[in-house]
Each structure stands twice: as C-alpha cells, then as structure tokens.
Symmetry: D2
Subunit: 384 residues, 4 copies
Amino acid sequence: MRSMNVGIIGYRFMGKAHSNGWLKAPLFFDLNIKPELKVACGRNREAVEAFAQKWGWQRVETDWKKVVEDPEIDIVDISLPQHLHYEVALAAAANGKHIFCEKPLAHSLQQAEAMLKAAEDNGVLHYLNHNYRRTPAVQLAKQFIDEGKIGRIFHWRGAYQQDWIVDPNFPLTWQLQKETAHAGPQWDLNSHSVDLAHFLVGDIKTVSCLTTNFITERPLPRQGETAFSKGSVNTEKGKVTVEDAALMMVEFENGAIGSFEATRFATGRKNAHTFEIYGSKGSLAFNLERMNELQYFSNDDPDNAQGFRTIMATESSHPYVSHWWPPGHIIGYEHGFVHAVADFMEALDKKETITPNFTDGVRILKVLEAGLASARSGQKVELS
Amino acid sequence: MRSMNVGIIGYRFMGKAHSNGWLKAPLFFDLNIKPELKVACGRNREAVEAFAQKWGWQRVETDWKKVVEDPEIDIVDISLPQHLHYEVALAAAANGKHIFCEKPLAHSLQQAEAMLKAAEDNGVLHYLNHNYRRTPAVQLAKQFIDEGKIGRIFHWRGAYQQDWIVDPNFPLTWQLQKETAHAGPQWDLNSHSVDLAHFLVGDIKTVSCLTTNFITERPLPRQGETAFSKGSVNTEKGKVTVEDAALMMVEFENGAIGSFEATRFATGRKNAHTFEIYGSKGSLAFNLERMNELQYFSNDDPDNAQGFRTIMATESSHPYVSHWWPPGHIIGYEHGFVHAVADFMEALDKKETITPNFTDGVRILKVLEAGLASARSGQKVELS
Amino acid sequence: MRSMNVGIIGYRFMGKAHSNGWLKAPLFFDLNIKPELKVACGRNREAVEAFAQKWGWQRVETDWKKVVEDPEIDIVDISLPQHLHYEVALAAAANGKHIFCEKPLAHSLQQAEAMLKAAEDNGVLHYLNHNYRRTPAVQLAKQFIDEGKIGRIFHWRGAYQQDWIVDPNFPLTWQLQKETAHAGPQWDLNSHSVDLAHFLVGDIKTVSCLTTNFITERPLPRQGETAFSKGSVNTEKGKVTVEDAALMMVEFENGAIGSFEATRFATGRKNAHTFEIYGSKGSLAFNLERMNELQYFSNDDPDNAQGFRTIMATESSHPYVSHWWPPGHIIGYEHGFVHAVADFMEALDKKETITPNFTDGVRILKVLEAGLASARSGQKVELS
Amino acid sequence: MRSMNVGIIGYRFMGKAHSNGWLKAPLFFDLNIKPELKVACGRNREAVEAFAQKWGWQRVETDWKKVVEDPEIDIVDISLPQHLHYEVALAAAANGKHIFCEKPLAHSLQQAEAMLKAAEDNGVLHYLNHNYRRTPAVQLAKQFIDEGKIGRIFHWRGAYQQDWIVDPNFPLTWQLQKETAHAGPQWDLNSHSVDLAHFLVGDIKTVSCLTTNFITERPLPRQGETAFSKGSVNTEKGKVTVEDAALMMVEFENGAIGSFEATRFATGRKNAHTFEIYGSKGSLAFNLERMNELQYFSNDDPDNAQGFRTIMATESSHPYVSHWWPPGHIIGYEHGFVHAVADFMEALDKKETITPNFTDGVRILKVLEAGLASARSGQKVELS
C-alpha cells in the first residue's frame, strides 16, 4: 500500500478530532493511499509531545515553518484557530504540500482569496473541513435533490444555535474579539450553514443581515483561561467586539429564498445546526443533534398517506454507512472527520479535486462578508 | 342570566368557526352574560338560511346594514374576508355595537386606523380574533414569561408555513390578488405571528423584509370556484399580484431580535405555526400542529438534568383547561374561538377591554406594512 | 328533517361529553335523523336541572325508570358508571329503546352477555362507546390494514398509561373498589386497548396476564369527594381491592402476538393510549395524546428512503375530517363523541348495525376476564 | 506507562468493534495500563492477517488454544459467536487470563455457570460486554435512580425490536438454528434488555413468557453466506428452530413489574432498544436509536411546568462525556466499546471487579431460560 506523510499543526480540540480522522480512516475504509501520522506541531513542546505520543504522531515540531518546508511531508493539516490559517496555508502551498484545512477558511475574504490562489498556482489539493457535509443524512439529502425528488427548491430555512455565552460572566475569550475571530457566529456558525446551503440549494445572489449584541462587556480571561470555568470571576472587563447573533435573509440564483440564524444565545440549544428545504415535489429537514436522521416528505406518496418520514440514515444503502455498523447503530460527530480523510486520500489517489475546498471557502466568506456589510448599512447587498 | 344579542356577518369557514364559539362558550364556561345567536347575514339567502337553521341563528338578513343598524343587536361578529371589514366595522361602531372581528384587521393600515378610531370614539368593545393567543399552551408561555421564568428575551424565531398553492394549477383565487387580499402570507400568516410576538416579546422597532413569487401566473378560477378542486384546469391565466412568501428580520424595543417566515410553499407543512423564544433563564417552543404542547427549557434545572421538556398543557392548572377534559385529553383548533367568546363576554360583563383588539391590529399592520415597504426598498425600516 | 328523542342518564364527566356529541353532530354532519335532546336524568334534581338547562335538554327526571319507559324516548344514552349499566340497559331494551352506552360495557361478563341478549331479542340498535375507534387516525390505520398496506400482522404492542393514583394519599374512590369497579385498569383502560386490537388485528385466542398492587391501603374519601383534592387527608384508611396495573400477553387467532400494558402508575403519562402494529409490508403507531397523527412505515418505499412517516390525519381525504377544518387544524378528544353520534344516527337511518356494540363488548370482557383469571392462576388461558 | 497484552479471538463484526475499542480507549482516556494489541486469532489465516494488519494486531494465530496458553498474553478477548464462548473461556481462565467476553455469555445456563466458576476459581477479571450500559444516557439514568430522583420504581417497559428477517427469503443462518444460537431474540436481544433491567431496576423474581414463529421454514444459506444478499434464493429449505419473537412479563424482587418484547419482525425498527421506567417521584425513557438522549419526568417540577424533558447526555457533567466532544456533539454505537475497554483497564489497574460480568451473565441467562420454560409450559416460573 502506498502512503503519504501528514504533518498536523495544532493539537487542541481540532487536533484531536483530526488525528482521530487520520487514524481511523484506513481502518474503516479501503484506502489506496494510507496517511502516515508523521509530525505534530505546536508551540508548547511538552504539550505537543504528549499529544503526539498519544495519537501516534511519529515526531514533533514547535515551529510550523519546519513542517511546511519538510521534504518528507506530503500533506499539511491546518488545525489552528482561523486567524492563523493564512500564513501557514500560503507557505504550505508554496512548498507544494496538499492542504487539509479546518474551517472557517480565513480571517478575511482577502486572505481566503490569496489562499485559494496560492493553492491553485501550486497545483496542490486543497480541502476545507466543513465536515457536516459528510454526514450520511446530509449526503442522502443531496442525492434526493440531485435525483429530482425535491423538485424545484423554494425555501432554505437554516439555523445554527448554541448557548455557551449566555452567562454574562463567560470571559472575553479570543472568539469574542474581532482581532482574533473577525466576527462572531456569522463567521463561526453561519459558515457551516452557508456551506450546506451552497451544497444543497446553490449560489446566493443577495444578502440582508441583522446582527446584535446582548452583552457588550465581559470579564477578561485570566491567565491561560481558554474556556468557561464557573467560579470566581475577573472583575476587570473588556469590550465584546464581535456580534452575539446574526440573522440573514438571502435570495439564491435559482429563485429560492433562504433564512439563516446563528447565535450563541439560544438557551438550551447546544449544537442545533438545522435546516429545512422545501421544494415543488418534496421537502427535507435535518438536525445535527440527531445527525443520523433525515426528515423527508414526498408529494408522490398517496394523498392520504403523506407525511414527513424519519429516515434512519444507517442503512448500508446510505452514503458511507457500509463502512460502519448494521442498521440502527448510529454514528457520531467525529465520523465526519473520518469520512473527510477517506475522501481526501481518495482524491489524492485519483488526482481529483475534493469539495468543499478553498474555492468554496471563498464563496462562503463572500456571503458572510456581504452579511456583515448589510448589517452595518441596513441594506440588502448584491453579491457580485 | 343576562344575555346579549349577536349578529354574525359571513357564514363560510369563519362563520362556522365563530358560530361554534358562540354556541359552546356558555356550555363550557359560566358566563354572566350569555350570547344569543340572533341574526345571521349573508348575500345568498338560501345559503345563509341553511346556515342559520343549522347553528340556531334565530333569523337571517341579506343586507349587512340591516344588522349593524338593528336596535336589537348588541354585538356584531365580522366573519367576512378582510377587505370587507372596514365598512362594516365603521357602521357597527357608529351604531354603538360591540365588535368581534376576524383577522387580519383590515385591508390596509389606513383602514385599520380608522376602524380603531371609530371603535374608540363610540366607546364600543372591540376584539380582533387572533385566536391562537387563546391556546392554553400559548397562555402558559405568557405566564412563564411574566413570572420571569424565561428572563431577558434574546430571540424570537417564528414561522407560519403552509403548502396549499404549491401546485401551479391552483387557481387565482381572491387570496392571490392584491385588490382583495392586499398581500399574501405577509398579511394572512405573518399577522398571526406578529400578534404572538407582540404578545410574548414586545413591540417591534425595525423591520427588514424579503418577499418573492415562485409562480407568477395561475389559471383563472372558474365560476364559483373558491378552493382547489383537482381536475380540469382553466387555460386562461391571470397574474398573481401578492407575494408567495415573506421573510422578516426585526429588532424589538427591548433589545431582542426576531425572525419571521410566512409561506404557502412549504411542501408538507399544513398549518405549521411555530415559534421559539430564547431568554437568559429559559426558553420556549410551540407548534400549532401540536397545540396542546409547550416546550420549555429551564436554566434552573440541575446542570446534568437540563433539557427541553414537553408540557402537555392539559392540566387543570393550565389556562382554560379546567373547563374541558381531564389531563391528556387534548383540545383542538376550534377551542380558541370558544375561549375568545368566553373572554369577550366576560369583558362585556366587567366593562373591561379585551386583547388583542383594534389597537393591536393597528400595531400589527404597521409592522406588516413596514415589511412590505422594506421588501420593495431592500432597506431596513424603522417603525415610528 | 326527521328526528328522534334522546334520554340521557348520568350528567357528570360522561354526561357532558355525550351531550356535546348529541349537540354538535347535527351541526357538523348532514344527518337524516336529528337527535332531540329530550330528557336528562340524575338523582340530584338541582344538579341535573342545571345540567339540562346548560346543554339544552328539554326536561329532567330523577328516576331512570321513567326515562326508559317514556314512550316519547327513542334512544337511551347510558352515561353512568359501569356497575349501573346492566339494569338500565335491560330495561331500555325491554322497552324497545335504542341504546348508546358508555364503556366498559358492564360490571361482569355475565351482565354483558345478558345485555347483549336483551338488545338482540328486542331488536334495538346497541352501541358501545369505545370512542377512540372514531379518531381519524385510527380509522385511517384500519383503512391501511384493510387495503393490505400492512400485510400480514405480526405484532400488536399496546399500552394505556395514566398516573392519577401515584400519590398514596389519593383516596379510595369507587374506581379502586371491586364492588363498584369490578377491576382496575384491566377493566377501565385495557377495555379500550382490547377494543382497538380487535378492530385492527382480530380475535384473541389466548391470554396471559400479570396484575399487581403498589399501594394496598388508601385514605377513605370524605363525604362527597369524588376526585383528588390536595390538602388534608383522611386518616381512616381502607383496602384497595382492584389491581393497580395489568399486563397481558396474547395470541391472536391469525397468528399475531400482542402485549398490553394498563396502569395508573406511569408517572408523567396522562392519557398515553398507544399502539404499535408491525406487519409484513408495513407498520403503524399511534398515541392518543397526539391523536391527529398516525405513524406509518412502508416496505414499498425505496430502500434508501424508508422511515416512519408522521401522517397528520387532518386532510379532507381522511375519515371524518371533511366535516371539520382545513389541513393541519387539529381536532380533540371530544370529537370522537361527535363522530359516534353521527354514525349512530346514520345507523338508525339506514337500519344497520354499528360497531363497537354489545357483541364487541362481550368479546372484550371475555378477554379481560380471562386476563384476571390468568393473573390469579399464573397460567395462560385459552379463550373458548 | 504499564501495558498488558491482549489476544483477540474472532475478527468479524465484533472483532472490528472490539479492536476499535482497544485502539481508541488509550487515546481518549488516561489509562494507567495501556492495552497492547498483541495477537489476533481466527481460523482463516489470510482473513485474520488482513484484519490484524489493518487494526495493528502485532501477530496472528489460527488456533485459539495457542492464544489462551500464550504466556505473553494477559487478556483474552472473546469476540466469537456465543456457542463458542464456553470452551475458550474455560481454557483462558485456567491459564490465568483476564477475560473480556462478548454477549450473550454462553449457549446455556450450565455453560455460563461453569464459566463463572472457572473465572472465580482462577481469580481472573471477567467482563461481559453488554455495552449499552456504558452509554452516557444509561449511566445517567442509573445515577438518577441511585440519587432517588425516580423514587420507588413501579414499572419497567422494555423492548428490543429489529426487522432483519421479515423477508421469508432471508436464509436459515446460524442465528436461526438451535444448535448454534440456542434461542432467537430471547437470547440475542432480551439478554441486553434483561441486563439493563437488572442494572436499573433490580433482580427478577418471576417470569411469564410467550414465544412464537411467524415463518417456520427458510431457504438454506449457500456456501459462505452469512448474511442476507437479495437475489436468487436457494430452493432447498430447512426448519427454523428458534423463536422469531419473545414477550415476557416479570415481577421484580422489589415489587416492580416489567414487560419485555424482543423481535426480529418489527418492520421499520432497526435497532430499537427502548425502555421506560416509572417511579413514585419521576420517570425515564430511552431509545438506543437516539442513544445520546434521556427522557426524564420529575414530579418535583412545579405543577404547571411538568413534562418529559429530553436531556442531551452530551454535557461534560454526564458520564464519559468529558473524554469526547463539546455539548451537542453526539457519540455513536462504537463508543460503548471504548468505554468498556477503558473501564476494564481501570479495573485491572485498581484490582477491582467490573460489571456486568459472568455473575451478571448467569443471572441474565437464568431469566432467559426461565422465560423459555414458561413459553413451553404456559405457566409463570419462579426464579430460585
């Protein structure tokens, strides 16, 4: 079996999820090219060494430049916070490395466009990890649409609802500051929703957007605090510089219309990434918290026997499922990463592109930026 | 027992629903003033006589002016299509009749304001039948909000989805023409949603709206055709002059933001009037198709035992329920009308106002008109 | 229009539900024979007079014998507790009255058989009000089965779960004593489940049953106490003499097997009358708390698009629905009584039988008695 | 880090699921003893070598005796069909190997008892892989019960419903023959349900059982056919010698009663392992197809705010979850095996027992055998 060497940059939440993907893909899929977990990179040597040992990365680096310039490395996995993607991606492309990049693509549309150009100019494979596309149920939705089961699409109704900053004492982490995060849920969450809308419905033509802040100041994080730990709170405060919630209304090129709702203030919703699609022949609905299920309504059913049916997307006839377990035995969040790696390795083998990629990332960021502009102006924005 | 005499104008779908309300309210509620079903009015004498006999209306008229001028009549029930409300309401008010009016209030904001002024000037009780407020589950939602269980409200997410004109052969009925309907789902459906949003969240400050048409021409209805009868289709066509779907994004006075989605093109959704409300202490969700249930999430539950709970609003401790059946024995669509009549008669008895009323109707139409203006301009509209 | 005169005996919970049925059936259905609400009967004159006035019963009696012997009366409605059905039904039949009888049929199988014989010998129409059969969703289930959509039936899985006596201070009402109730949920709740199983699956051949008591003594009710009022509790106690819960396993004549679960101790379940039916071609599921919905799974759907679909049984193509409201506008518990009256009047008009009737009641009680015998012996019982 | 060497016997469905467990446990859990994937064993050398290479088992054997006698091996993982467990387990115990055994424990109660004795006599750790116990939601249910949140338990209502042999052309595989399977869903599926009932409710005192066959003859499998492949069917048929479905009613030692339903004929149910538990203070419900969710009803909620709440068991405060992903990011079927390995290694480290083990397996098989006896006799069976 051929193999290719992977260097991963970043070792926190996404490093773990990606490592699991690199490790498991060859176990559950018959890959023609096997990924070798070669180098893990992070600034804290001790931490990255523990990480590497656990996951089987053969060696470590603390300087990402060493990884992207390493002749042994074929694939660079960018598992970093988004404001750090740009520099790494450009260098990786310049060195001819294939790129497996966490979402959202970049800190700004300008960066994203430069990253796309670099990847294309250097002829490397580029993948953007909007992994929810690779859920069997979402792939099945795509199949149904492509087969004409839904007919002409009228409506997209999407939401991505979380609640992790409802508490006013949640600290001012990097996600809440414009310098590091560029924007709030418009960037973090709506990027996922727009990716699925692009995938399932098509290109977006106009955007109207409304953003707001419910809490404008928050305690500064203490040294080393990256998440919320209930307990004593820093009395020093700083200003929240990204939005807390973002709504969008859009027109698609094909005449459908859509709505998006992204928020970190939907008390009780943990990871409620949902969509509804209504068409002339049928409809679909999906909820990431029940990601093994697809709701489907068909106008072709007899008049007195129509209804939304809950398809358990766990049959071997469903996308990806034959690699896993018998019907009714569900898979989870992390499986999307395994599917992504498997498809990435297959694209390398077949010398084909894979989607979503940097092209898609640029399209997504165009929509999101247009949204931010619309929120500022109060006007509908046409996408060029 | 005292009684007051009712004259109903209109005898179709809403005439039936209202008659059932007038008839049943005294059977299930202990009213101090009983409504007498005195006169039913419609232009087709034969039809209205059959209607009157069935429901127990004591006599009939074919000229609505006779009803509003009849000294024997205390209450005028306007069960007509909305473009006919204005003239009747003005005359009824001028004659000192109390008014029980079907929604939406009027064909235009101007009419609505005139109707409100007439009712107030003449000191009559005025009620606007946005009957979904009178569902036990919606009243319970209001209680929870008023008690502080939800805390500060961040989000309203509402939709009213139907699918009755997805078929391009559905004829060009009065609901699809501007002269008779003024607007499409923005008027018909979003009026309900905005009423609930006003009731549960508060006043709206700004509106952005997007409308569209999926089907721009339809077969002309044949003689007497008021609804869809599958079969041969008129080859003569006419232009659809109201929108097929309307989306809105709003800012509330209290800082919450909201989204609305009204459509007749949501294949598979029959009467999906839904809302989600997210607040700092808890959240709520409702679906009219399961109108006996209220979803409630509380931050006060122990950390490891939080979740959306499905409250069956069928306990005697829930609003209105003690008048009906034991726990778990559900009520239906028509019960809202019975509650409305009971509350209307109680308001008459106590010489109090009742809500929603023409004041609310004016507020609702202001929002809806602002929406239509925003859809035309592509700009956010501030409500005065 | 022809009419027939009804005399109702009993004016509490069931009197109210039945009166509503007699009143509304002619309003929503085109009946050839209209029921006249002639006489209401109860032992407490004051109470029955208030009841009669409210519902429009033209006069009252305090002695039921007067009603069953009254030449003016055509139909006797037995809305009494079940231990009082026998004597009234026998007399009503002897006097040639048609009988509309609340369930369960009688206090014992012997009584039930005598009631059936009396009704048949006297040629009167007899109806037993297992009204859940008359839910549109249940009728639709029957249609699907009759059309072969489900194929050969393998499984019935039914339950009727309530929780109204979980509190040990709930008093020892008549429902908890053998003299008045004959049995507990086996009689009260399983009678409904067995009726639906007979209707949808077929005759039962063998029964195994398990009953138990969780609370064996309860406070005696105070004077006039018929239900649970939280507050001070009688310190005098008496023995509970009927079971608290009853499970059954059965074999049907057609080879299907089934399970039944009836309890008043299912904390959180208010009126959870549910069933699942699994067949060789499809499956069905129903829950009375969501009585407008029928779950349906079809093996005929394409392999990758199978799933349980939620049919909103609110289309005009569904049984009974064309008499009510548009799609998605749900009906409630009381509507089953209206349907029962409409069908009863139609049977009278067409001189046909109606089901379920006393024949069905006898079949049901045979199963329930066999269950009680099995619970005592620990052995499977064959039905003759 | 210390490590212990594992030898796995069997490499099909369960070999894959177990290997994934051995591999992932040290990646997601901080284990004091790391399992080394030392030897994989199977009769087909080529197949087992492919398996070993994929999963990282260091070497292979084709004779299981070599594994259980290998001094290098500390842990024997029995991933074989159940009729082969006995001999391997006895030899493994005799050689002092710790045993990680797939369920159900054995082909008969006698075998199970001997296996337990052998394990105990030789002082080895024994674990029986009823892995559904190790779902966060099920562990949370156990916590709630232990904390008294449910109070005194009245009811267990369990089912395990599948539909994989509804097609009469499904071949007569080993699972359908008494010699290899001992029994049908009573063994395969009810063993899981009884395990959870023991875990959550307690010991069972009496059993009544009903079994049946819907299809008595099936095509013989063709050479090498282990599962269903639609297509041409063998015309030679053989007799099905295990039951197609099994129902049980039980009494628990603590006074609760329970029902069980296990079937391979529930069309549309793929892996519907469900339970409901009703107690004096609250209730619980679970469905394996939505295994990240636990339904919980509490009598302690305010009277007008009670309802079944859906707890997403994906919070870091929930059992096992802190090792995985953020809230709302679900896990799947295979994670139970990872938890099992982690707990097994911890038990080895702490020199403690782990449950369920062979003791539990014996208890489970006693119930199941009593059920089969009851089904034959038609009588309730007391467990000794």
